[in-house]
């Protein structure tokens, strides 16, 4: 098992190197010269030269990359041009917000997607199945930022039930925190619920067709036990790994959701950074998301092995 995890971690290294090259070269795509922007109105040649030296822009590109990666490996993602804070501490500050949002969204997604998926599979080709499929297709097709705007319009503006925006850390005021997060989490979770529903349905369908289910039915096991104990437990495997993979997707989905509900999280960080031309932050966020994504992929693979006795035996 440990050698398997070790091997998977080693495989992630080339991926990380390529992503770091991508994040680094983004900077080179820039049309303007960031140093000129930093040097201020006067554009004093001495200041410009000093800044160029300070940021090592006079060195060859390859050296610049090596310096940059060297710093990143030590946890130095640079300094935000806007706030003068280290990028890493900015990210560390915003990430818990988005993680709370992501966990709540995942709870919604699982609570909606999995039961409906099971139901649709059990009632295959009935009106329940058709409606579930239409709902899932809609969930996949609706732009989640529009969904967010419509919910604000209905729930906050018309009904006045929940605040339209704002954020409260969970540990300072749990009730208020849940109130502000529940709508964004629902919006973010909806597309995932649709994906989960589709996978649960097809996974259940393939299990329900298998021989051991026929055997279970033949020996008189109740239908409820067949579905919940025999089928669902076996259909769960791909869903667990999918859930881990979808956590990575949540990070991306959070960008728009946080924008609409003005939640000061990871996604808002990248958008604000983009508009403030705070490129060190954009690079840092891109790298961190990719690392998070790769880790979740690893978790998915490990879970798959852990949960599947046949795979465990093969290792």
């Amino acid at each position: 098992m440990y050698t398997y995890i070790g091997k998977r971690l080693l495989l992630a290294i080339p991926t990380l190197i390529i992503i770091s090259i991508f994040a680094f070269s983004l900077q080179k795509l820039l049309p303007g010269d960031p140093i000129l922007a930093m040097a201020g109105e006067e554009r004093d040649p001495q200041v410009i030269e000093f800044l160029r030296d300070k940021y090592r822009l006079n060195d060859p590109v390859v050296y610049q990359y090596v310096y940059w990666v060297g710093a990143v490996v030590q946890g130095d993602f640079g300094i935000s041009l806007r706030t003068n804070q280290p990028v890493l501490s900015l990210i560390a500050e915003k990430l818990p917000v988005t993680i709370q949002l992501a966990i709540m969204a995942m709870i919604f997604a699982l609570a909606i997607g999995v039961p409906i998926g099971i139901l649709a599979a059990v009632k295959k080709n009935t009106w329940i199945d058709y409606i579930a499929n239409i709902v899932a297709l809609s969930g996949l097709s609706v732009p989640n930022f529009w969904m967010g705007i419509m919910l604000i319009l209905l729930v906050s503006v018309k009904l006045g039930w929940l605040p339209a925006s704002g954020y409260e850390p969970f540990f300072s005021d749990p009730v208020r925190s849940l109130q502000t997060m529940i709508m964004p989490a629902f919006v973010l979770g909806l597309a995932l619920a649709a994906t989960l529903m589709r996978h649960t349905r097809s996974s259940m369908l393939s299990v329900l067709r298998s021989d051991y289910i026929r055997t279970a039915r033949a020996k008189g096991v109740s239908e409820q036990a067949v579905i919940l104990q025999h089928s669902f437990r076996n259909a769960l495997l791909p869903i667990v790994t999918l859930t881990a993979l979808l956590f990575g997707e949540l990070l991306a989905g959070a960008v728009l959701t946080e924008q609409i509900f003005t939640i000061p999280g990871f996604g808002k960080l990248i958008v604000d950074a983009v508009f403030n031309r705070d490129y060190a932050v954009v690079q840092g966020v891109v790298l961190c998301t990719a690392i998070g994504f790769i880790l979740m992929n690893l978790v998915a693979d490990v879970l798959y092995v852990l949960l599947n006795p046949r795979m465990r035996a093969a290792l």
Partner: protein, 292 residues
């Protein structure tokens, strides 16, 4: 099943597979619905200049944030522009973004996938590693980062979305090529002395075409949402040019005063995206050889 249908099914050799797929597609209700939705929006986008509608950019200080009425069927926006007209012109931006960005993704991704899968070896290793790395970044984050660094415009947004979607096509094409390249007809082509280029274009590409078509349709749906998202964030179509995403961006500031501003653009995105998703799912069923 009638006798005639049975005969047709037994003797399909003379029927070109494209025709068969088309018949199956026509028989698939949801795919037809999808196609109708798409044709409707494409038609609107194409004939927009000919329609007797208001200028989508014309502002009017006497018609600011007017609710839907006979004069303005869908109301007006914060500077008095006709929303219906902006919606119709906005369809152009959305559809163009969907089609062009997927075009970019296909034009770069498919050849790379063909080369990677067909030749194997170190070329394959490099292309595969890079593809995996790009797939390790969430689609939207990558599109946002690229669009941010390229500079905000509809054209750059399309490039950013296209490049972000490209790895999907590399991976899919490569996988398909790997599964057909050991087929006997490819070996046959090689044994009669055809060159790599001819084998790839005449024997491999046509046989990996179907899954690519399905993927393209589904990716157009994703790309349209991505363009709307980028425009919503201000990284796509720039004002005053109309696009559904940027209309929503403005609309969110006037939710209590002018809710109609927010309703229509989102509903349009939703419909078009459903159209492409339905078509993609329908194509998948129609082109699946296992069910033929």
């Amino acid at each position: 099943m009638t006798m005639l249908q049975q005969t047709l099914q037994i003797a399909p050799q003379h029927v070109r597979s494209g025709n068969r797929a088309w018949r199956k597609l026509k028989a698939n209700k949801s795919a037809v619905v999808g196609l109708v939705i798409i044709i409707f929006f494409v038609a609107l986008a194409v004939i927009a200049p000919l329609l007797p509608i208001a200028d989508p950019m014309a502002t009017s200080w006497s018609a600011i944030r007017k609710a839907p009425s006979a004069a303005h069927w869908l109301g007006t926006d914060d500077i008095g522009r006709d929303i219906l007209s902006r919606m119709i012109w906005g369809a152009r931006a959305s559809l163009m973004a969907g089609v062009f960005s997927v075009g970019i993704a296909v034009a770069i991704g498919v050849p790379l996938g063909l080369i990677s899968g067909y030749f194997g070896g170190w070329v394959d290793m490099i292309i595969s590693r890079v593809t995996e790395a790009f797939l390790a970044m969430p689609f939207l984050i990558m599109a946002i980062a690229l669009a941010a660094f390229l500079g905000p415009s509809l054209f750059n947004a399309m490039i950013a979305i296209g490049l972000s979607a490209m790895p999907l096509f590399v991976r899919l094409t490569r996988g398909q090529v790997l599964s057909v390249k050991t087929e006997e007809y490819v070996e046959g082509a090689r044994s009669i002395g055809l060159g790599h280029y001819q084998i790839i274009t005449r024997y491999i590409l046509p046989n990996v075409f179907s899954p690519l078509l399905v993927q393209a349709s589904l990716t157009i749906a994703t790309a349209i949402i991505a363009e709307a998202s980028l425009s919503f964030l201000g990284l796509g179509q720039q004002p005053p040019a109309p696009s559904w995403g940027s209309m929503l961006n403005v609309a969110k500031n006037f939710l209590s005063q002018a809710p109609w501003m927010a309703m229509w653009p989102g509903a349009a995105i939703f419909l078009v995206v459903i159209g492409f998703n339905l078509l993609g799912d329908g194509l998948r069923d129609a082109l699946d050889p296992r069910e033929a």
